[in-house]
């Protein structure tokens, strides 16, 4: 066997090992941040956080991923930023969870939304991992779709139409399901080599699917 064959095999092995490491680190950080975020959400429901605080948490989380995370993602500080970001988002869920907990079967709705989100995430990640397909062709479609949904969400805030609210939540679930495939395949195919950024992307998908599924289940419950 020639040297070039040896070296190409070594490069392929090294690349596979590096991908596995990113994947393992991403899932490890994701599981810990999800638990942390859930604890912060529980604390928030217990102290009865208001919608104003929830909004401030969302602005804080956005500021962190916009201005701080890009500068810290390649250092240990990036992990602290991810915890701060996921903690803020979790804490911001308090008023929404309290709203559903005040319903007769609110606890059941929240548990169903959590279980449903877990099944969607595990199913889609498993699918992306087993097929090993490259879903990066979805990038333009998903980001364009997200901007359209966000514009519709701005209109929804002012128009207060239940039908539009329902359509936006359904679209969010489908879009972020696509983002789970997109993000997971980027890790597998070497497009994303930073596990801090990979965790942030997948966490946001899970978070948004959970909220939208909860809204849809709340709507069906009515």
């Amino acid at each position: 066997m020639s040297d070039s064959q040896y070296s190409s095999r070594d490069i392929a092995r090294e690349s596979a090992l590096s991908t596995n490491k990113v994947l393992r680190n991403t899932y490890a950080l994701l599981s810990v941040t999800l638990i942390f975020s859930a604890i912060m959400a529980m604390v928030s429901t217990m102290v009865n956080t208001g919608y104003g605080v929830s909004l401030a948490c969302s602005f804080g989380a956005l500021a962190l991923i916009w201005f701080v995370l890009p500068r810290t993602a390649n250092s240990g500080a990036g992990i602290a930023v991810v915890f701060a970001f996921t903690g803020l988002l979790g804490f911001g869920l308090g008023p929404l969870l309290n709203h559903y907990l005040s319903l007769a079967n609110g606890g059941e709705l929240i548990a169903t939304a959590m279980g449903g989100t877990a099944i969607i995430f595990l199913g889609l990640s498993g699918y992306a991992l087993t097929t090993q397909r490259d879903f990066s062709f979805l990038g333009g479609f998903l980001f364009a779709g997200l901007i359209v949904v966000l514009l519709a969400a701005v209109a929804g805030i002012f128009l207060q139409m239940p039908g539009l609210f329902l359509a936006i939540n359904a679209a969010v679930i489908l879009l972020f399901s696509g983002f789970i495939l997109f993000d997971t395949s980027r890790i597998i195919n070497g497009g994303e080599t930073n596990y801090v950024l990979a965790t942030t992307g997948i966490f946001l998908s899970i978070y948004n699917i959970f909220i939208s599924l909860l809204h849809l289940l709340g709507f069906a419950n009515d």
């Binding site: 449903g116 990066s136 062709f137 364009a144 966000l150 849809l216």
Partner: protein, 61 residues
């Protein structure tokens, strides 16, 4: 229209501004889909739609 609604609208507008550069990049640089790629995407998405519909039916009963 409450101050909170305006706050949420501002948050969504900020999100759009935040996402815009990434959207622009991916619209320009997304690789073209190969044969079977869209089917491979639509298959799990159809399952997600069916699953969410099932959960909504269960809750609505």
């Amino acid at each position: 229209m409450s101050g909170l609604d305006i706050g949420y609208a501002l948050l969504v507008v900020a999100l759009i501004i935040f996402i815009f550069p990434a959207a622009k990049y991916w619209l320009k640089n997304s690789p073209k889909a190969e044969k079977g790629d869209w089917t491979a995407f639509l298959f799990p998405i159809a399952l997600v739609i069916a699953f969410v519909g099932f959960l909504m039916m269960m809750v609505g009963r």
